[in-house]
């Protein structure tokens, strides 16, 4: 069935993959190996002494109900961020795809937020929702809603989700938009001639044909929500109020770089690595089946 193009000999293919292997080794395997190794110790911050504790760090973490609770917080946060980053992006892409005039301007404007660093995005949203001077908080106050994410955990969660997802909408938009452009017009036109209206065409033709892009974005966004959002959390809530926005990666950061507890921090990154690895495997095993390439 498949037509295979193969290399003769080993040298050329090895040379071709060497840069990727090298980069993975230096920036992934080496640090990940270090994290696994360090997770077995309780070191002092200055690296003067270090005690082997075996799985002690993992035991310490998993017996802590607050750490276990942050798994649930992370799950809620990641699902919300992924949804909030993908659904509006798809919606905007569909709208932009239908545009004839000025499409370039819209696209450029929609991509802008992606250039804003997460920590800066966090500060921007914090300003808007600041309980005292924030514009949005003020309007909510006019409507009789007393916004206070400093003490209200659900509001804090909502705010960090929106701030984290905002910049990602642009990224996802780009991919969805490119995906939509790649769908052959003839297929859609044929459906239209058969009498299928816009939404029916969208759900029966566009969405299935877009599934490879959607699947790719799902994986990438989940990874983003797990790993890259700590800047937003750090600037907006520092994990609070109480522990309502303490996601796993934020705890890795704060225990390691604020608390100087490198053993626990390493153990947490190992746990995080395993969790995301499992998630990705699950995604590929069960969701990819429904993807049509």
């Amino acid at each position: 069935m498949h037509k295979r193009v193969t290399f003769k000999g080993w040298l050329l293919p090895l040379c071709l993959i060497a840069p990727q292997v090298f980069i993975s080794a230096v920036f992934f395997f080496y640090p990940a190996g270090q994290a696994v190794w360090q997770s077995l110790f309780i070191p002092d911050p200055f690296g003067l002494s270090s005690q082997f504790v075996g799985l002690g760090n993992f035991e310490f973490l998993l017996s802590d109900p607050f750490y276990r609770a942050s798994f649930l917080t992370t799950a809620i946060f990641s699902i919300l961020v992924t949804l909030a980053a993908m659904v509006p992006a798809l919606f905007l892409a569909v709208l932009a795809d239908r545009l004839i005039k000025g499409a370039g301007t819209y696209r450029t404007l929609l991509i802008w937020p992606y250039a804003v660093a997460p920590a800066v995005a966090g500060v921007l949203w914090l300003f808007m929702f600041n309980t005292r001077v924030g514009v949005v908080a003020w309007y909510l106050g006019q409507l009789g809603y007393d916004w206070n994410h400093v003490l209200n955990g659900e509001e804090a969660m909502g705010l960090v989700v929106v701030a984290s997802a905002w910049g990602r909408i642009s990224y996802n938009f780009l991919f969805f938009f490119a995906g939509l452009q790649a769908i052959p017009r003839s297929v859609i036109e044929a459906a239209a001639i058969d009498g299928a209206r816009f939404w029916r065409r969208f759900f029966t033709i566009v969405l299935p044909l877009l599934s490879p892009v959607t699947f790719f974005l799902l994986v990438v966004n989940v990874v983003y929500a797990f790993f890259e959002t700590f800047g937003v959390i750090h600037t907006i809530t520092s994990g609070g109020p109480q522990q309502s926005t303490t996601i796993l990666v934020y705890k890795v950061f704060s225990d390691g770089f604020v608390g100087q507890d490198l053993g626990s921090s390493s153990a947490q990154s190992v746990i995080l690595l395993v969790v995301v690895g499992l998630l990705t495997v699950i995604q590929f095993k069960y969701i990819e089946r429904r993807v049509h390439y």
């Binding site: 309780i42 070191p43 002092d44 911050p45 200055f46 690296g47 003067l48 005690q51 504790v53 310490f60 802590d64 607050f66 309980t131 005292r132 001077v133 400093v150 003490l151 209200n152 520092s238 994990g239 609070g240 109020p241 109480q242 522990q243 704060s254 225990d255 770089f257 604020v258 608390g259 100087q260 507890d261 053993g263 626990s264």
Partner: protein
């Protein structure tokens, strides 16, 4: 082999001799100050460099307190550590436990043969940074203590005598009632809740924050701030929060914006808030001593400090440390200290500097600026009021913040929250003990 070594020695000495004669010894100093404070530090360093010709101090800003400490630790691991590192007070136990990474200040001074009279330093300031044997391990640099800031105009508008006695929480409670009745949205707010309402509260009422003299006597210390005095205070604050009399603005000093804009009537914040409040407040304000509960103590003990101190790091040449000693003695001199105290609102670290400030008439021209000094020095510190020496304390403060938020939002009672904070904090103390034991 011998020849080679000798040759190398000759070569090295010929190369190095002229250099050593010409160049001054460079002293690296890493600090955490930006803005106005950064300028003032730079000014101190310039004055020192101009005052003598043996040493050049190079000051480098390394980010906020946590980032500066991290930079110092990372540099030490890489063998590139500065001579002097600024470390905030909660990092004290981490530094103290790092034997082999730090060189205690009293040793630096003794080795350099520098004059060093430890009794010149104010007890309650240096106490935070001394070993159980009374020797100073680091040099206090910027120290402040919490006080009560009063918006006099707000009190007057609410029909309250602005000179009313606010020295006890009992009186403050009554004033909060009146403010609330008068329709004030924010009767009371605070900055740094753990530092002011638990750490300083405990010292001020002479009750332990942790066992083993708040950690001064050993790493096997356990938290003890869930005692009846603290529970009563947090309980009262919790009720005030529920009744809209205490407005919680955030974990750090977010409340400062609410006070400076004139929204809040009372504000518990560091004495170093002076510069900001003075420049921004469009109302008449007062500095008052931190209130205490008459029901808990007949009269208050002293409060404790917050801020940072300077640590000398190991791994440099003996003559470098002579430079470190000279710089530290320069910083401690009455003139430099008095200027620093008056420019920043931080406490003077020596009694002489305080007296000089008084002689110069600063306290008369700026009433209230001596409240913090008096509050710190009125009494000889006890085991409960020398300070805190707890490992992983930055994280423990984070836990306390979380639990206090549960009280302010009404999710937990004060007793439940403080019990939980003690239990969670103790786990971190045990880990710290294990890592450094």
């Amino acid at each position: 082999m011998k020849k080679l070594t000798f040759g190398a020695f000759v070569a090295a000495s010929t190369i190095l001799t002229p250099l050593a004669a010409a160049a001054q010894t460079e002293i690296q100093f890493w600090h955490a100050f930006t803005g106005r404070l950064g300028e003032l530090v730079a000014e101190q360093v310039e004055t020192f460099n101009a005052s003598q010709s043996d040493y050049t101090v190079t000051a480098t800003h390394k980010g906020n307190y946590s980032e500066t400490l991290n930079a110092g630790i990372a540099a030490f691991r890489a063998g590139e550590q500065p001579h002097i590192l600024m470390v905030f007070e909660v990092g004290t136990a981490t530094m103290m436990a790092a034997e082999g990474a730090i060189k205690p200040v009293y040793e630096v001074m003794a080795d350099a043969g520098a004059e060093f009279d430890q009794s010149k330093y104010i007890g309650s300031v240096k106490g935070y940074y001394t070993a159980p044997d009374g020797n100073m391990l680091s040099l206090p640099f910027n120290s402040s203590t919490p006080v009560l800031w009063v918006n006099r105009d707000k009190l007057e508008e609410a029909g309250i005598d602005p000179d009313t006695d606010l020295s006890t929480w009992e009186n403050v409670g009554a004033v909060l009632d009146e403010l609330k009745t008068a329709g004030v949205d924010c009767p009371l707010t605070t900055a740094w809740q753990s530092w002011i309402h638990l750490e300083n509260f405990s010292a001020y009422h002479d009750v332990p924050f942790a066992t083993q003299a708040n950690g001064f006597d050993g790493l096997d210390t356990e938290l003890a701030f869930n005692g009846p005095a603290q529970v009563a205070h947090i309980s009262a604050m919790g009720e005030w929060a529920q009744d809209g009399k205490f407005f919680y603005a955030g974990r750090r000093n977010e409340g400062g914006a609410n006070f400076r804009s004139g929204e809040c009537a009372l504000f518990t914040e560091s004495s170093a808030g002076y510069a900001g409040i003075k420049s921004e407040a469009q109302f008449d304000f007062d500095v008052r001593p931190l209130p205490y509960w008459e029901a808990v103590a007949d009269e208050p003990q002293n409060t404790i400090i917050g801020g940072a101190s300077l640590w000398a790091l190991e791994g440099h040449e003996a003559e470098d440390y002579a430079g470190v000693a000279a710089f530290m003695n320069f910083l401690s001199s009455p003139e430099i200290q008095a200027k620093w105290h008056q420019d920043t609102g931080y406490l003077p670290i020596t009694a002489e500097a305080g007296e000089l400030t008084r002689e110069q008439g600063f306290y008369d021209e700026n009433p209230g600026t001596d409240v913090a000094v008096i509050q710190m020095t009125a009494k000889e510190p006890t085991d409960n009021s020398k300070g805190l020496r707890l490992g992983s304390f930055d994280q423990i403060r984070g836990i306390i913040d979380e639990e206090l938020e549960a009280v302010w939002s009404g999710d937990k009672s004060a007793q439940e929250a403080l019990d939980s904070a003690v239990e969670r904090g103790n786990q971190l103390l045990r880990r710290f003990e294990q890592a450094n034991g």
